[in-house]
Structures are given as structure tokens and as C-alpha cells.
């Protein structure tokens, strides 16, 4: 156990030393890996934020039934009792045109415009939560409500959600492709760095083999080097994304304030940060392993 630990400590220390021995080249490699990795990480963060924002806005999809202007109290009561008995409706509330106007008045910048109106142009409306959230059921309900003689317009607010979800799915596919391509690039960068290291350390490898070093002993520092370079690249990617989120958030604050919405981009979660570092470290290790496997056997004393 002591020998095993000693070998690993020696390999880790040697890998660090090799990083420090060529500081500029190492730094440039790490920055390249970091910048490359910040792209998929940034897209991932953006998609996550859009997803959470859309969920925050919509909750469960609702149906808004706008009644024809001049619909009488009796007709409204009749509709209310019909809605109460409807098997596919979870709950509903009636929003009178006066209350709707009042709510509109309270919105930022709308009070002046509302006060200038000579009459209330808004219709009475029912806001309905369906039991099912399946798009087919909601569409069936909307068609049914459109046929009511009192209904002027029925708005299903899940339409834009559906479109957004399709866009998010497309974004996720794009993210997967981007991650795969840039992961490949990281492996190639590490592969080439290790290949050059093996060439420059040829004498050392040869001597080590002559005095009893196993292949594992020789391979280990290169693997640690790849993993350290990968994890450092991952940390740079994390920093870039965190910096960009901070920059965007400060501008976003001004924008969302104008729309009276409470929203800001979330930072990378602790779990995602750990996953990012582990993944980038694994890719670095894999690149180093491939390089060592394809070059080390060529050096024999």
C-alpha cells in the first residue's frame, strides 16, 4: 500500500513538475481547453436557465376563455355551473372585465394609458386549469369552449410552451453535438501534448526501463499530466462561464426591471461544477492514455 501510494505521489509530483517546467505552453493548453469547454458549459447553463424561466412563467398550462362583450350575468352563471360539473376541469376562476382593467392599471407604465380610455374595452373571462396537461386534451377543451355561444376567443397558453420545448430539445441536441466535438478536440490537444512530451522524455523513459521501471510506472505521470491539464481546463471553463453569467446578470437586471419580472441567470450548481471538473479531467486522462498507448511501446532500450 505504501509503495502504491509512493508511486502515485511520485507520478503526481512529476506531472506537476512537467506542467511548471513549461509554464507558457501549459498555460496556453489549459486556456485552449478552458475556452473550448466554456462553450458547451455556457450553452448548457443557458438552456437550464431558459427551462427554469419558462417553468416559472407558465406552471401548468391554462385556458383563458374571453366572453363576448355584453354577455349577461345569467349566461355567466350558467357557464360557471357548467364548468363546475365539467369532468376535465380542475378549477377555474372568473375574471370580470372591471377587475381585469384594474390589474392592467397596476402594471408598470399602464396607468396613464388605462385612465385615458373612455370605456372598458376588456371582456369578461374565465381562467381555467384543466385536469390533464396533455396537449391533445387541452386542444379538445379549447375547441369545445370555442363552440359556446358566449365565447369570443379561447387562448391556450401552452402553445408557446410547446414551441419553446421543441426549441429547447433542438438546443439540447446542439449541445450534445457541441460537447462531443469539443471533447474530441480536448482529447486531441492532450494526445498531442503527451506525444511531444514522450518524444522529449525519450531518454528518461529508456533509462527508467533499463533500471527496472514497469510500463505502469512510466505511464502514470503522463496520465496524471493529462488529468491535471483537463481539470485545470475545466476550472478555466467554469471561471469563464461564471464571469459571463455575472456580466449578463448585471445587464439583465435592468432589462427585467422594465418588464416587472423577477429573473436572473443561475450560476453553475455545485453538482454541475463537480461534474464539469470530473468530465474534463477524465477527457484529459483519456487523451493521455491514448497517446501513451500508441507511442510508449516504440521506446525500448
Amino acid at each position: 500500500m505504501n509503495m502504491w501510494l509512493s508511486h502515485h505521489w511520485h507520478a503526481f509530483f512529476l506531472a506537476l513538475q512537467r506542467l511548471v517546467d513549461s509554464p507558457l505552453a501549459s498555460l496556453l493548453n489549459i486556456i485552449v481547453i478552458g475556452v473550448a469547454f466554456s462553450l458547451p458549459t455556457g450553452v448548457y447553463m443557458l438552456l437550464g436557465n431558459v427551462q427554469s424561466f419558462s417553468g416559472q412563467l407558465s406552471g401548468a398550462p391554462q385556458l383563458n376563455v374571453f366572453l363576448k362583450l355584453g354577455t349577461g350575468k345569467d349566461a355567466i352563471e350558467k357557464l360557471e355551473s357548467h364548468l363546475k360539473q365539467h369532468p376535465q376541469i380542475e378549477n377555474f376562476r372568473f375574471l370580470s372585465k372591471d377587475k381585469a382593467l384594474e390589474q392592467l392599471k397596476q402594471r408598470n407604465g399602464m396607468a396613464g394609458a388605462v385612465n385615458s380610455l373612455t370605456r372598458n374595452p376588456l371582456p369578461d373571462a374565465f381562467i381555467i386549469d384543466a385536469k390533464s396537461i396533455s396537449p391533445e386534451t387541452l386542444k379538445r377543451l379549447r375547441n369545445e369552449m370555442l363552440k359556446w355561444p358566449e365565447s369570443m376567443h379561447v387562448q391556450l397558453d401552452s402553445d408557446w410552451m410547446e414551441r419553446l420545448n421543441v426549441l429547447l430539445k433542438l438546443g439540447q441536441i446542439a449541445l450534445l453535438i457541441l460537447t462531443a466535438l469539443l471533447s474530441f478536440a480536448l482529447i486531441v490537444v492532450t494526445f498531442n501534448t503527451i506525444r511531444l512530451q514522450i518524444l522529449t522524455k525519450r531518454n528518461e523513459i529508456e533509462v527508467s526501463k533499463l533500471i527496472g521501471a514497469t510500463s505502469n510506472f512510466i505511464r502514470r505521470p503522463f496520465l496524471y499530466f493529462g488529468a491535471i491539464q483537463g481539470v485545470a481546463g475545466g476550472a478555466i471553463a467554469w471561471l469563464i462561464v461564471a464571469l459571463v453569467i455575472n456580466l449578463i446578470n448585471s445587464e439583465l437586471m435592468n432589462l427585467v426591471h422594465l418588464y416587472a419580472v423577477d429573473f436572473q441567470l443561475h450560476h453553475i450548481s455545485f453538482e454541475d461544477s463537480i461534474s464539469l471538473l470530473l468530465f474534463s479531467s477524465w477527457l484529459g486522462w483519456a487523451g493521455a492514455w491514448l497517446s501513451v498507448a500508441s507511442h510508449l511501446w516504440q521506446i525500448e532500450p
Partner: protein, 217 residues
């Protein structure tokens, strides 16, 4: 113990470097192998360290049949051999200390005990005051002594040296030879190749002579 029986070594280009070699070296013996250039001295040492494999015949080193040794077992065989190579194989980008500590790092020694052994080995070869120096700053004789320190630091039972005095002036040669004798005196089996027997005329040690790949004495 080192034992060769009916060993042949033929290289892929057809050159027969060793023919029907058979001898035994007892534990603690000091033996010189002589012969002209191309006689097969270096090949013979390379066979002991499993750097080359025999074409036919068997080689026993420390009760291990090297001819049948798996590739994965070779590093462990080499850890029990101290080897001084003809081309020195010094790492010039590392200090004297770091060159000598390498075999101990390979064996997994902790830094503290490794440092103690390295200093003892450097003391033995008279380089203790140069442990931090880079090998390029050492003279030819000192570089050879560095190679000897690296070979003995792991306290091997067999020490083999391939022409350790080549390119050294006579004062260094005597120095280096005395060093090998001192290791032999403490029970290490020492095997040294030397190009000409003149150097060894007054030697009381056993001499194996090679000529065109064959053992002549």
C-alpha cells in the same frame, strides 16, 4: 549466480553475436569479460539484463531462467541488477541526486529513506558534495562514478558494467576499478567488460575472453 548454457544470439539481420556460450559465475565472484570490438561482450551483458533475449540456450540469473521470463517480469529482474551502461545513460536535465534516486523511486522507496541511501551511495563514490550539481558540470570520471552510484543505490546482488573505463584517463580508470573491487569485497557479484586484457594483466580475478562471439578461455 549467473549461468549460461549453450547460448546463441543471432540478430534479425543474420549476424551471430554469440555462439555456444557456457559458463557459470558464482555468487560474490568478480569476473572480467574481454575481447575486441564486436566480440560479443555487450551482447552478453544485455542478455543478463534481458535487454536482449537469447536465440537458443538458457540463462539463469539469481535462480530465474531469463530465456523463459515473461516481458512483464523483466522490470523486477532488472531491479536486482546494478547496471553501468556503455553510453552512461545519464539524465542531464536532472541533478546528481535526482539521477541516483531514480531506481529507488521506481522501487517505491519513501523520500526520507531514499535520500539516506542516495547519500550513502554518493559518499561511496566520492560525489556527496556534488549531489545538487547538474551532470554536465562533472568530469568524465565523475560522470562514470555517478553511473556507479545509480547502479549500486538499490544494493543489488549483481553489478554489471559495460566498459566502464572507456574514454577515461588512467588515473580515473584505477579509481573506478578500485570502486568495483570494494563492492566485490562486500559480497556483490561483479561482472565487467573491458576491451583489452592489458589493463587486467595484474588482475587476480577470473577473465572470460570472447572472440567473434565465442568463448576462448
Amino acid at each position: 549466480m549467473i549461468s549460461f548454457s549453450n547460448v546463441y544470439k543471432r540478430y534479425p539481420n543474420g549476424f551471430e553475436a554469440l555462439k555456444n556460450i557456457a559458463f557459470t559465475i558464482k555468487q560474490g565472484e568478480m569476473v572480467f569479460i574481454t575481447g575486441n570490438s564486436g566480440a560479443g561482450k555487450s551482447t552478453l551483458l544485455k542478455l543478463i539484463g534481458a535487454i536482449e533475449r537469447p536465440t537458443t540456450g538458457s540463462i539463469i540469473v539469481n535462480d530465474q531462467n531469463i530465456s523463459k521470463l515473461k516481458n512483464s517480469a523483466i522490470p523486477y529482474l532488472r531491479r536486482n541488477l546494478g547496471m553501468v551502461f556503455q553510453g552512461q545513460k545519464i539524465l542531464f536535465d536532472r541533478s546528481v541526486f535526482d539521477n541516483v534516486v531514480l531506481p529507488l523511486q521506481i522501487c517505491g522507496f519513501e523520500h526520507q529513506s531514499a535520500a539516506g541511501r542516495v547519500r550513502a551511495a554518493l559518499d561511496k563514490v566520492g560525489l556527496l558534495d556534488k549531489e545538487k550539481a547538474l551532470p554536465i558540470t562533472l568530469s568524465g570520471g565523475e560522470q562514470q562514478r555517478l553511473c556507479i552510484a545509480r547502479a549500486v543505490v538499490n544494493r543489488p546482488s549483481i553489478l554489471i558494467a559495460d566498459e566502464p573505463t572507456t574514454y577515461l584517463d588512467p588515473s580515473y580508470t584505477k579509481d573506478i576499478m578500485n570502486m568495483f573491487k570494494s563492492f566485490h569485497q562486500v559480497g556483490v557479484t561483479v561482472l565487467i567488460t573491458a576491451p583489452t586484457p592489458e589493463l587486467l594483466e595484474s588482475s587476480q580475478y577470473r577473465i572470460l575472453s570472447l572472440s567473434h562471439g565465442e568463448l576462448v578461455t
